[in-house]
């Protein structure tokens, strides 16, 4: 469990990134922080592994204030996946993935074996292991980034817009894979994105942020859609544009689901249609 206790961060130039933020992130589930740029979501994420230390307030992992833990040791116990994968350009893929293990003192051979396993788990072939990052596509690099985040089997995985820089088809693929992995591994994942669709797809808990890390609403995707807290949330999740309000219509003799503007959004599954 990760807990933020009224944390705030003011940067050296005096600009407050986060004012007063509290949240509990339950273990073995995915929490997504979602908001526009400048809402402080990345700052909040980086407080968990002490890449950013809060100006006030506390962050606790399993009831221990992380300010009492050494940052380097803390970071080695937490997986981190970032945008553009952040792979080291001068190390081969397998060495990149093995990095957290090597830093933790795992012998070279064992680290390599576990890195190969992690690569297989994210769907990267062994033939890519000895390549350098720039020899891989963006999607493959991002997979390697996920493998590196998972290789040391951390309880917590931090993901900072990990799929933001790849094209929509690859992104959908990566999202699906993350869901499968999470189903199998049950990590405590804190995920940051500006994409509400991604947040609803991946999050057990979704936290919508305004500027300055103010929580507009936190809850499951269904709770947020069913009872948006205010107009900001309604507009952020797209309820105001009619995209989300679906109804059934008859088109060419077939029952289809359309949005408020009458644009078809899908069909009803005939096996479930009992009306």
């Amino acid at each position: 469990m990760i807990e933020y206790r009224s944390v705030g961060k003011t940067y050296d130039d005096g600009s407050p990134a986060v004012d007063d933020f509290s949240l509990v992130i339950p273990s073995h589930s995915t929490t997504v922080l979602v908001g526009s740029s400048g809402c402080g979501k990345t700052t909040l994420l980086r407080m968990v592994n002490r890449m950013v230390d809060p100006t006030h307030g506390q962050v606790l992992i399993d009831d221990v204030d992380i300010a009492t833990r050494g940052p380097v040791e803390l970071r080695r116990s937490i997986g981190y996946v970032m945008q553009q994968a952040g792979l080291l350009p001068h190390r081969r893929i397998v060495d990149n993935v093995a990095t957290p293990l090597r830093l933790a003192g795992v012998p070279r051979r064992e680290a390599r074996e576990r890195a190969m396993d992690a690569l297989a788990k994210v769907g990267l072939g062994a033939d890519l292991a000895d390549k350098y990052p720039r020899q891989l596509s963006g999607g493959q690099q991002q997979r390697a980034g996920v493998a590196r985040g998972l290789v040391a089997d951390p309880n917590i995985l931090l993901m900072d817009e990990p799929f933001g820089a790849v094209d929509p088809i690859v992104r959908a693929d990566l999202q699906r894979q993350l869901q499968t992995l999470q189903h199998e591994l049950g990590k405590t994942i804190l995920f940051v994105t500006h994409d509400i669709e991604e947040a609803f797809l991946l999050g057990d808990q979704v936290v919508i942020l305004r500027k300055g890390g103010v929580v507009a609403q936190a809850g499951s995707p269904a709770e947020i859609l069913a009872a948006p807290a205010d107009d900001f949330v309604r507009s952020f999740v797209g309820l105001d544009k009619g995209r989300r309000r679906l109804r059934i219509a008859e088109l060419d003799g077939q029952r289809v689901v359309v949005d408020e503007h009458g644009r078809p959004a899908g069909v009803l599954d005939p096996t479930l249609d009992r009306t």
Partner: protein, 214 residues
């Protein structure tokens, strides 16, 4: 050629003397510039001051320095160490800017990612920053190496023997062959040394050979 063959022993001696007078300043200047340049790459204010200081240092004429240095540190006028010190200062002046640029071009995201993976400061410096600054550092070493090999010849004017001595003697005796041989050997030395740096770079930075292929 006959003259060169007849004096081959002396030429080899001069070449070795020239070699160490070139390598020591490049290596020492580089090692001194490493922390200074790194510092300059991280903080804007020292950067401006250090780069200006480096620029001024580099414009100081070498001959007066060669005369002043022995008085300052108490060495004899003919001591080759004076030449080594002056050339180290020039190499340092040249390197500070290059080292600062080399570290500044390392991607901040890659450094963040290394920190997030749990690299300590020293591990990150040695395992990520230094190798990624490597190609630019190597380019700097090559420039400094060539310029130092040619600057060493000035030492002959204050009586420190090296391949430059062939120029001073050649002028005094109006003997062109000796001057020509001197020039050829200086160029050869510069090229050989450059090849050594390139080779060393390939051994230490195998990933750079992929450039363009990937």
């Amino acid at each position: 050629m006959t003259w060169a063959r007849a004096n081959s022993d002396r030429l080899v001696d001069l070449m070795l003397q020239h070699l160490w007078l070139s390598v020591v300043p490049v290596v020492v200047g580089f090692l001194l510039a490493l922390p200074i340049g790194w510092w300059a790459s991280r903080f804007a204010r020292p950067r401006a001051v250090l780069l200006a200081a480096g620029g001024i240092l580099y414009t100081l004429p070498s001959l007066p320095l060669l005369v002043i240095i022995p008085g300052l540190i108490g060495t004899s006028f003919l001591d080759p160490i004076n030449v080594a010190i002056v050339l180290t200062l020039y190499a340092l002046a040249l390197f500070v800017r290059i080292v600062a640029d080399a570290f500044a071009q390392v991607s901040a995201e890659v450094l963040d990612s290394a920190t997030a993976s749990g690299y300590s400061w020293w591990q990150r410096f040695g395992g990520v920053e230094l190798p990624l600054a490597g190609p630019v550092l190597l380019a700097g070493v090559r420039v400094a190496s060539v310029s130092t090999v040619s600057l060493v010849t000035v030492g002959a004017l204050v009586g420190v023997s090296n391949l430059g001595s062939l120029f001073t003697e050649g002028f005094q005796r109006d003997f062109r062959t000796e001057i020509t041989v001197g020039i050829v050997l200086v160029v050869i030395l510069a090229l050989v040394l450059d090849a050594v740096w390139v080779l060393l770079g390939r051994l230490l930075m195998p990933w750079t050979r992929l450039r363009g292929a990937g």
